[in-house]
Amino acid sequence: MLNLFPKQFFLFDPLALFFLAVIFIVSLPSAIYAIGYFSPKANPPAAERGEYSPGKITLSWFLLVIFILSMAAVVTAANALIFLIVWEIMSLVSYFLVVFDTTHEKSIRAGAIYIIMTHIGTAFLIAAFMMMYRHAHTFDFFALKNACQSIPPQIKNLIFLLLLVGFGTKAGIVPLHIWLPYAHPQAPSHISSIMSGVMIKTAIYGIIRFVIFVLGVNSSWWGILILILALISCLVGVIYALMEHDLKRLLAYHSVENIGIILLGVGLSMFFISLNLPYLAVFSLIAGLYHLVNHAIFKGLLFLCAGSVYKATGTRDIEKLGGLIKKMPQTALYFLIGAMAISALPPLNGFVSEWLTLQAFFLGAFKVTGGVKLFLGVCASLLALTGGLAAACFVKAFGITFLALPRSNHAKAAQEVPLAMRAGMFFLALLTVIFGLSAALIMKLLARITGSVTGIDISNMGFSLNNFILQPQAGKGIYLSPALLALVLIALGIAGFAVYRLTGRKKAVIFNTWDCGYYKVDARNEYTATAFSKPLRIAFSFFLLPYRKTQKIRESFYHVKSFTYETHTTPVFRKYAYEPLVGLVMRAAKFMRRIQPGSIHLYLLYIFVTVLLLIIFMNKF
């Protein structure tokens, strides 16, 4: 009756091994980066930052190791109870890491919001696992898997919704993403790169493992619900990222967006499984997993670069930065590679996985009948919109932070970060390029993994023509070869350079920027991030509800001394969803305080009334 004692603690099937690989791909460079991050020479005197005492550094290493181990345990747990325990330990350790510099008031609040939201998510998970336990009387995955076939459909739908909310809070799907932009930036950079790169992926692992593998998809509205949520996450994530000026918060919002893209792949594959189109299901899950590993790599890279910028200049606000490319050339190059990857520009890995997801949408649309065709088409176009907005956001992020003249003396005093940090970044940048070019090989690997998870036999499905060319649908003439693309681009670039070299004899003259002839161009008249994102703020004002206040400070009636311009966007979800909810709970609690006013007579009356009531309704019990 009581077989709580798990027979099998850990299982290493292809899905688990894949996620282990993702974890270690990002954790290794972050650990190397951490060596530099904590070394004293990393922070020049100009930058004001909480310096870390040796005790704190060893504590951070200890927490980092436990954090990685707990994530590894989460993805390889074989028993739902063990999964739950290790899941909570992971959240607990990451709470300690978010609240690492305990004197900053912001990080305490961020940590509190983070652990509370994660815990509420886990409560939903507990409910889902227990309802599965009720039918299976065991927690082992395989036994659960067979028992779940016999669960009645409406219970299955309820379990699915509970799992979706539980894992959704951890993944940061839109209505539940509130904690992500607060928690990730507060942690030390190498930790936020692991958190953003890998920890939110454990939630995706959870969805794949429990919904696709254990529960089994049999109603098609599941896939559509995930698609809709994913789309909203994409758009909201990228729009808020555009309005953000704190570099790490910008990257955190992009994690929300990219989780949306990954979930598009996963949602599509669930939709196709329910329509039993095996080829498309495998293909879209491959697209989802591929974007998952790509995002882990380039998001990790971007957070490490943001960390180096923070270390070098002491501030994360891009309005105060600028011209860092001359002072920190290598960090700038790595950030550029990361930015290109996340904006899905051709030769790199972001482009390949986004192209695969779009292909999955199109191929799905061709196969599916009726109105769903249009739905998939519109989804594809919204995904393209997200790609475009992401490119705009990273032009802003890279351009304002690294290019042109430094806007503050912090930025002027910046200097290149130590070797360890650069090594970490170099490793990830290299991976970004490799994962982009060797797409065909990775497709074969991912095919085997998705086959094992969805239980679909993939022997006759060829996804790549040879080691270089991807072929989503045999015989349809759709090909993509990132390696060839890179080759052609380089060739044409060299050709262009040759033409440039041959035609002109004189060398280029260096002179200052065109200043309309009469005033000296300095950092003040460069374009700022707020200005850069203004057109999009106007375009999406129906959602952002921007607030704008301009003020003229006048010396006298005729002379204006200075002009202030203040604008910010209203955080819709926090203002209209979370604050009213918390306010309601607090008001109810305050109301309940009145039952303890201090008078002993009232307390005695409570006891007396309880006795009377219980006696009167005795027979009801």
């Binding site: 519109v378 594809a380 032009v395 349809k476 003439g477 002109g504 850069f532």
Partner: protein, 307 residues
């Protein structure tokens, strides 16, 4: 080996014909305005002049500014090599398909915007901000156009959708949507004005304000080629003609004439629109592209209905 030879021919053809198109459009615009205007070959003269002039590079600019012209020309020519013009039966489509085309063009635009920011002048920042704003709203419409056009043939490869039979309504509406996008992408009047340097109106020009001499020539060449790519796509969608099967000379000549005629028609229609429409306020462009998006959806619906 002959595939590479054909590609080189195609690139040379693009480089040769592209400036002619711009010349043609400006010629038509001026004649509509009852003015003599510059000659059709003026773009060639400009390019020749630029290639021989010296170059001035801003002090604040970094290596991004220096490398951008080459990336822009490379990405645009790579996109051009994808289009099925000369190469029979299939173009160099192992490289990618219609979807990949969008991303390749996005690469060029990304670096151009960065270069705009790199010089530190407010014109460059203004240009790249507007450019990214417009292009991010263009991509969904492009995606919808591809969706509606490739729905019939069942594959997004560029060669495929031209080979399939006529679906007049879908292709007309998709062509119209693509036409609106072309106006936005190639900085034509309703969205952006090529000729003026007035900071209120220029978008594309503002980004390349700091460029001079040979780099400017390369970038100008790239924008001409991009313009030709879009014109070719519109032409292929609105007047679908399958590639000639046999190689007998008569048919090839007729096909070539018809090919250039389609290009001219599109160029004329662009010129007519440029003359008859006033430039829009920047924030109205969002509604303009919203209208294009709706057109795209209607095209999608028609494609689904198979009409």
């Amino acid at each position: 080996m002959n595939k590479i030879f054909f590609i080189l021919i195609q690139l040379v053809f693009f480089i040769a014909v592209a400036p002619l198109l711009s010349g043609l459009i400006s010629k038509i615009k001026n004649s509509l305005r009852m003015r003599k205007g510059q000659s059709i070959l003026q773009p060639y003269y400009n390019l020749a002049k630029l290639f021989s002039k010296g170059e001035v590079v801003s002090a604040t600019a970094s290596w991004v500014f220096r490398i951008t012209p080459f990336i822009v020309i490379a990405s645009t020519l790579c996109a051009a090599s994808l289009i099925p013009v000369f190469i029979f039966p299939a173009s160099l489509n192992y490289l990618g398909d219609f979807l990949a085309l969008i991303f390749i063009l996005a690469l060029g635009r990304f670096f151009l915007a960065l270069a705009g920011l790199d010089t530190g002048s407010s014109f460059g920042g203004m240009g790249s901000s507007r450019e990214m704003f417009i292009s991010s709203l263009v991509e969904p419409v492009l995606c919808l156009v591809i969706f509606s056009v490739s729905l019939r043939s069942g594959s997004t490869s560029l060669a495929a959708f031209s080979a399939v039979g006529a679906a007049p309504v879908t292709f007309i509406i998709a062509g119209a949507a693509l036409f609106l996008i072309t106006l936005a992408e190639t900085s034509r009047i309703p969205v952006d004005n090529q000729e003026t340097h007035l900071e209120l109106t220029m978008v594309h020009e503002a980004m390349i304000l700091e460029y001079s001499g040979r780099s400017l020539a390369l970038i100008e060449m790239a924008s001409y080629v991009k313009q030709m790519i879009f014109f070719l796509l519109i032409a292929q969608i609105v007047f679908p003609v399958s590639l000639p099967v046999s190689v007998n000379p008569l048919q090839v000549i007729f096909w070539a004439i018809w090919f250039l005629a389609r290009l001219a028609i599109v160029a004329i229609s662009v010129a007519v629109v440029e003359v008859s429409v006033a430039k829009m306020r920047l924030f109205r462009v969002a509604d303009f592209l919203g209208f294009a998006f709706v057109l795209g959806i209607i095209a999608g619906i028609c494609a689904i209905l198979g009409v």
